[in-house]
Amino acid sequence: MATESIKYLTPETETKLKSKAFPRPHQNTSGIVNWLTTIDHKKIGVMYGLAALFFLILGGVEALLIRSQLWNHNMEVLSNREYNQMFTMHGTTMVFLVIMPLSAAFFNFIMPLQIGARDVAFPRMNTLSLWCFIAGGITLNLSWFFTGGSPAIGWFGYAPLTDTRFAEVIGDMGPDFWIFSLQILGLASLLASFNFITTIINMRAPGMTMMRLPVFTWMTLIVSFLIILAFPAITIALVELMFDRTYGTNFYDFLEGGKPHLWQHLFWIFGHPEVYILILPAMGIVSEIIPVFSRKPLFGYGLIVFSGAIIGFMGFAVWSHHMFTTGMGIVATSAFSILTMLIAIPTGIKIFNWIGTMWGGRIRFETPMLFALGFITMFMVGGFTGIMHSSVPIDAQHQDSYFVVAHFHYVLIGGALFGLFAGFYFWLPKLTGKMLNEKLGKFVFTLMFIGFNVTFFPMHYLGMIGQPRRTHSYNEGHGFETWNQIATIGAFILGVGILIGVYQFVTAFFNKKLKDAGKNPWDARTLEWTLSSPVKEYNFARTPIIKSRDQAWENNYGPKENHSDKVPLDDHGVHMPDRSWYPLVSGLGFLGLVLGLLFHQSVDANTGEILRDYTYAIAGGSIAIFGIIMWSLEGPAGYHLFPKETEE
């Protein structure tokens, strides 16, 4: 990333503390230290993306094992418990280790570029989020190796199954791993969201008013608010569960005064906003891509933003539609049913606006557009089945059947994953400076589209004829075999498609045969396309002064008064902060804390009493706190870069 115009200057400011133990690596750091200590949002985004793609493969393998088990009646690919573990890990991995981090990858990389900022508001906290996410992924997957293996409780961990009283294996630690990994993943998401909110509110380039923000940035903001308001609920629910399991409290223990039903409420108070957290980023990406590939501005920008906000806000009011069959009473059930139906309205508005954008445009069917169109159509199908569930009597039939599995895979794969893949094909040229192979991209899309539909469409039918979810095998005579086999074949096709796609993304960084991208290969509209590809370390050589929405487009095609200006070149150059070890130190500290808490219990061999040893937990926690204190004392430090007048 270094160019010959950079001069290295010693920092002219006094740092608060010069630390000899972990000095801040300066600008000429390279290699692995560069990546471990980076605080640059672009590198953090890349690491989020790579880790998430790895977990996508892992979660995909878990899914293929499930599909293999269901190929025929009474198969024995997986035992009962192993099957339960598979769907638990598949669900938890895909939700928390794939879709959320992929969204975070795009938020990290693209959002600051879209608002004209040099980085996020709190770069070191950003790095800490990344390491907490990695720690969470490690913690969850460590569960395979300990007593009881992975959790077998479903990704939603319903009480009272999670109580130690009902453990299938004595001393089953699976749920404990699940609890702690979700806590640390929650911490990662929360930290990142606070960062993004502050960045979007406070670090926009001059002239970038809220209503000139790209829709993707708006979705970043809304999703961040959803995260900070929804995660506390699951944090508390998990804390209560942990206390139940470890210290014998009675929060969800029905025999001793608790209510398992409360777990469902708390989980879904988080869980429903969570699904909007999963889908809104993809909707933001699609809202960027459709206008570019229709060569028309987004139809109804204000409505799309407003309906995104409404979806976010109303998402807090519909959680009990996951609980229609739990006997909540007539009033509650009807209220949630009506609210769920209402929330379809803003979603529908978005779809009409996307169609309106394409109407009368000059549409190009390149890979990003194919995925975006795939998103719209497949998400609609998932949306229709979702509306079906909102009717309580119909839901009574759908609940716990494969119909629901079909619904959420349509919105999550057909929706979120397609949207995110569209984002990869759209933005990787900006990241890497190279165009991806268009033919291969179209092939990946074809495989994924066909594979996905062949897998999940039959599940609507299977659900209606009675195949239940989360059951490890079915007997002969129900008529399930044929469509299950078709679904399994589809799953493998989808798997191959995803694998090739991931391969394409990862090799994009190294492949010498790819064409150069240039600044704006798609003739796109938003601010990041005014920068060179790959983006320079400092993002903007001179802070732009924004004069309109879709600034890149206006600069190329709009009248002179809409062209962006730049803040005058400054003698000081661009100030770049040094890298830092402390986020990594704190991240390792948190991992140590979590592992320490997981393993603090032991049983005295003689008396049978429980012994609690918090040494490792305290050590881990202290390291985490030490890291945070040291980073607040580290001081800004930094160096300056002096891009040439003509550079971007």
Binding site: I197, I201, F225, I228, L229, A233, K259, H261, L262, H265, I269, F316, A317, S320, G327, M328, G329, I330, A332
Partner: protein, 235 residues
């Protein structure tokens, strides 16, 4: 940092008195809360209302003045209120949903003291009283001019009335919600006990005709309704 300051020192010095006064007010309100609990001059719900109002006043006081929202830009308040509003709304929704106190809407016990009348249509299962004895109709029939326990049907004598021991009473109840209902009589000499699990559990209505040793009325009976962990009685 607070958004406006020609002379920050003067601004802050003025605020000293605001802080001090607010502090005294908070102490006073807390004092009121504690006194109310000790004095116990009011009913439970009134105390709860007063406590809630006091809490809200203190909450808003600290938020607006100690936390500077009064003097800062509105965005800070917006950020905080987002979380507060959603938390409050969710709290009320969950409290409402997990709260099912049952309510006994109607409960009555009345003796069926209909005297026998001539030339009246009776259906099977009707009760009647004649000469201090109680009878139940065995078949649907029209009574003749005088009381008799048999009537002629197709020229065959058929039992129309059967004598019963005890006094028939109609026990009826209407309950808002419940998963178990228990009705028993309070007089040891007049035993009666009925327990069942209603289904569906809402808008429960039922009635029963029962023969009792002595005449009884509603005050002699108790109905207990259970919903979740609540028990409600009519006594």
């Amino acid at each position: 940092m607070s958004g406006h300051s020609e002379d920050p020192v003067l601004e802050e010095s003025k605020r000293f008195f605001t802080f001090f006064n607010l502090s005294m007010l908070l102490v006073a309100i807390t004092g009121i809360e504690i006194v109310i609990i000790y004095v116990r001059a009011f009913d439970g719900p009134v105390i709860i209302t007063v406590l809630s109002i006091c809490s809200v006043i203190k909450f808003v006081g600290v938020m607006t003045w100690f936390m500077h929202l009064r003097w800062d830009k509105i965005l800070n308040t917006v950020l905080f209120l987002m979380g507060l509003v959603i938390a409050v709304f969710t709290f009320f929704a969950v409290m409402y949903m997990l709260d099912n106190p049952p309510e006994v809407k109607e409960f009555s016990v009345t003796p069926l003291e209909q005297d026998w009348e001539a030339k009246t249509e009776y259906v099977k299962g009707d009760y009647t009283k004649h000469n201090d004895s109680y009878y139940v109709a065995e078949i649907a029939h029209q009574s003749g001019d005088t009381f008799s326990t048999q009537i002629m049907l197709d020229n065959e004598p058929v039992n129309s009335w059967k004598k019963v021991e005890g006094i028939p009473h109609q026990i009826s109840w209407k309950v808002s919600t419940g998963d178990m209902i228990e009705i028993n009589s309070l007089k040891p000499g007049n035993p009666f006990f009925h327990q069942y699990h209603p289904y569906p559990e809402d808008n429960i209505e039922g009635s029963k005709i029962s023969l009792l040793a002595e005449s009884a009325s509603t005050e002699d009976f108790r109905i207990k309704v259970r919903s979740e962990a609540f028990w409600v009685e009519n006594q």
